[in-house]
């Protein structure tokens, strides 16, 4: 059992104007058929033995609270500790970049003072990855750092939402928003001593409109903030294209295995769905198929959410279909994201292109 509590800031959206994210917090975005993005930080913390997790909520928290409930599915329905649903200060904020607003942390100071564990694990819900937080804490302790931040060298240019750290020999010198190829992209996972975090919140009280790591920009000489490199599969989710690609990436048994290894499963809300049913004549290849699905038609290179029906003669190619969607007989879907509970009428064609994925909003 690590001596840590978890704190997930779920009240940030993205700078993207893609309507995939309109009206819902990123944290409750459905992902890979049966998950929501918040399942990743929650599971990472729980899998490390953390049983005390606070979630700072966005203003439109209905879907998120509906999903996490009492925290039971993550073993967070505890007598002592467990899951804490906490308010944010800037409701509906859509800042780009940093996601640990000092004001939000100060508002929930009590969560940090009434627990006595040594460390706080900070996270957001924008990064798809399976992190061994137990190992990360061990690394933090071994390095003697004040703060350890989890990073990965960016594989492409231009994500304005991701934070970059400039470092020498793994020690952070400064931070800024936006990341270019080869730079250290911050995965929004950090380990910090609880007492130190409380001190910093007091010290930065006058600049509480800043992000914690932004406020630290003048203090990186004083505090040892060390980078821990992450070497597993990771995908930042900030726009429609990255959301779509992350789903498609997992149409690879090895990547899927890396993201959901045995021993560190990604936990999610349990549903009493029957197994997926493939009817006589169904044609399914290169697909992720969730429980409760019924497939009569054809599905290729696609990810299907729970309780999806693909009727006879219908075809789904290179698409992400969220839960509860019915694709009626003969309908054709290609290069598309179909949001929850849509009924795609018989014979309809919905086609996007590789470069511009079609999006059908939630019904």
């Amino acid at each position: 059992m690590p001596k840590a509590i978890g704190l997930i800031t779920c009240n940030y959206t993205t700078s993207s104007k893609d309507d995939v994210f309109l009206g819902r917090p990123v944290a409750s975005m459905p992902f890979l058929g049966r998950y929501r993005l918040v399942d990743f930080p929650l599971s990472n913390m729980v899998n490390a033995g953390i049983r005390n997790v606070g979630m700072i909520m966005p203003n439109n928290y209905r879907s998120l609270v509906d999903h996490v409930g009492s925290g039971k599915d993550w073993n967070l329905d505890r007598k002592n500790g467990g899951l804490f649903i906490m308010p944010g200060t800037a409701f509906g904020t859509s800042r780009t970049g940093a996601r640990f607003l000092i004001r939000d942390l100060v508002q929930n100071r009590e969560f940090l003072t009434k627990n006595h564990e040594r460390y706080v694990v900070l996270s957001t819900a924008n990064f798809i990855c399976n992190v061994d937080i137990r190992a990360l804490i061990a690394k933090h302790e071994a390095s003697g750092a004040h703060i350890t931040v989890l990073c990965k060298k960016a594989s492409c240019d231009g994500n304005i939402d991701v934070v970059t750290f400039e470092a020498e020999d793994g020690r952070v010198k400064s931070m800024r928003q936006g990341v270019k190829f080869g730079e250290e992209a911050f995965l929004d996972y950090a380990i910090i001593e609880r007492e130190l975090l409380l001190e910093l919140l007091d010290a930065f009280a006058a600049v509480d409109h800043l992000d914690l790591f932004e406020a630290l920009n003048s203090e990186y000489g004083r505090f040892r903030v060390m980078i821990a490199e992450f070497d597993g599969y990771m995908k930042p989710i900030f726009d429609k294209a990255s959301y779509f690609q992350a789903n498609i990436d997992l149409l690879d048994a090895d990547v899927l295995d890396e993201l959901t290894p045995s021993g560190r499963h990604i936990l999610t809300k349990a549903h009493d769905n029957p197994p997926a049913k493939y009817e006589p004549g169904a044609k399914v290849s290169n697909a992720l198929v969730s429980s409760g699905d019924r497939i009569f038609g054809s599905v290729q290179s696609s990810v299907l959410g729970r309780n999806v029906v693909v009727e006879a003669g219908a075809s789904v190619r290179h698409s992400v279909i969220m839960q509860g969607v019915v694709v009626k007989a003969g309908a054709q879907i290609e290069n598309a994201i179909i949001d929850k509970n849509n009924v795609v009428p018989a014979g309809t064609e919905l086609r996007g292109t590789d470069g511009d994925i079609l999006y059908l909003k939630k019904n």
Partner: protein, 372 residues
């Protein structure tokens, strides 16, 4: 009171490690899920589960009963294995004896009516409706019955009834049945009648302490009010490998005999959270059920596939049932077979054949190439 202590010896290796009610079924369930879901869907919140044979997996699976919404204060699931008292202890000697030994639990619950169930049957029933019949008849005992084909009647306990549904005569496995109404082993007793009957039966020399064999005939002889409750929907007692295989296959097809997808009474289970099933680029699945966590790189046809099953490249699985964690390695062929949990058919090996009896592979067993 749910009788879940049976070994299910006719299921062979499938029950060598687990009790029959805990045997995997339908890709995502264990057999006991059906009865527990019926209880939950019928508004019953106190369920005593009587266990005896290899109970570890069953106990672990039941937990607090939370998966079936049966984790209630003052009620919920109570796991009732045989226990010792000041005068020693003994195994459950029969269905009635199992309840007799737990009269203490029943008296603590202080019910008006007691529903006796088997943990190894597949059906959907609203017990509330059966209880309404029981009350309307002012009955002491109501036995759920269903019509079976006349040629099968000699295998069942047969109820000969009057027109009002009251029971005139009970015959256990009659050679020349007078009725085709078979007892389903589902009983509602008015509690004080049950308690008295059990206490008297316990003292009786030569009794086999069985509901069908002893309690029902005695109550009939005493002139108690015994009624039937007619059930006409899907019901299966999966006692043998053949009937177990058939019941799984009945979940398939475009109009399955038993519809897992019926919305009004969902079958609940203590399911694990695993990612969606991955069907590989050269994989194919036809006329099958496949649960989460599977990796299907080969061909699956007319089969029931549970969670975390692996079917390798160019492997073929047909007319088969694979329990959680089973592995069919690359190029292996599995036909008309039941593979229990974590069992393996290694690369290139063949297991089962279309025109022979269904073959079974026990938990953790391995079939190597050349073994067949």
């Amino acid at each position: 009171m749910l009788l879940a202590g049976g070994q299910g010896s006719r299921l062979g290796v499938l029950t060598s490690q687990v009790a029959k009610p805990a045997v995997s079924f339908g890709g995502k369930y264990r057999i006991i899920d059906f009865v527990l879901s019926n209880c939950a869907n019928s508004g019953i919140s106190s369920v005593g589960v009587l266990t005896q044979y290899r109970p570890y997996l069953l106990h672990n699976y039941l937990g607090t009963g939370e998966a079936w919404n049966l984790d209630e204060r003052g009620g919920g699931v109570a796991i009732l294995p045989p226990y010792a008292t000041q005068t020693g202890g003994s195994w459950y000697a029969g269905t009635a004896d199992a309840i007799t030994q737990n009269l203490g639990y029943l008296e603590m619950q202080d019910p008006e009516y007691v529903l006796i169930l088997s943990g190894d049957q597949l059906y959907r029933m609203d017990y509330e409706d059966m209880l309404a019949t029981h009350k309307a008849n002012n009955a002491d005992l109501t036995v759920a019955v269903m019509p079976v084909p006349w040629e099968d009647a000699p295998r069942f306990g047969i109820m000969n009834c009057r027109e009002d549904g009251s029971i005139e005569e009970f015959e256990e496995k009659p050679k020349e049945p007078k009725s085709n109404l078979a007892s389903m082993g589902i009983y509602i007793f008015t509690a004080d009648v049950l308690f008295k009957a059990l206490r008297e039966d316990a003292e009786k020399e030569g009794s086999s302490h069985d509901f069908g064999g002893d309690i029902i005939p005695t109550l009939l002889a005493e002139g108690k009010r015994l009624y039937t409750y007619q059930f006409k929907a899907y019901w299966r007692d999966v006692g043998t490998v053949a009937s177990f295989h058939e019941a799984n296959m009945e979940l398939l097809g475009s109009e399955p005999a038993f519809d897992l997808y019926a919305q009004d009474a969902p079958i609940m289970s203590n399911s694990s959270t695993r990612p969606p099933a991955f069907i590989g680029p050269k994989g194919s699945v036809d006329d099958s059920l496949v649960d989460n966590g599977c990796t299907i790189l080969g061909q699956v046809e007319h089969s029931v596939i549970s969670a975390d099953v692996y079917v390798g490249k160019n492997a073929i699985v047909k007319d088969s049932i694979l329990f959680p964690g089973a592995r069919v390695e690359a190029g292996a062929v599995v036909i008309n077979a039941i593979m229990a949990e974590r069992s393996v058919v290694e690369a290139g090996a063949t297991f089962g054949a279309a025109d022979e009896d269904t073959v079974t592979l026990g938990d953790d067993a391995v079939v190597k190439k050349g073994d067949e």
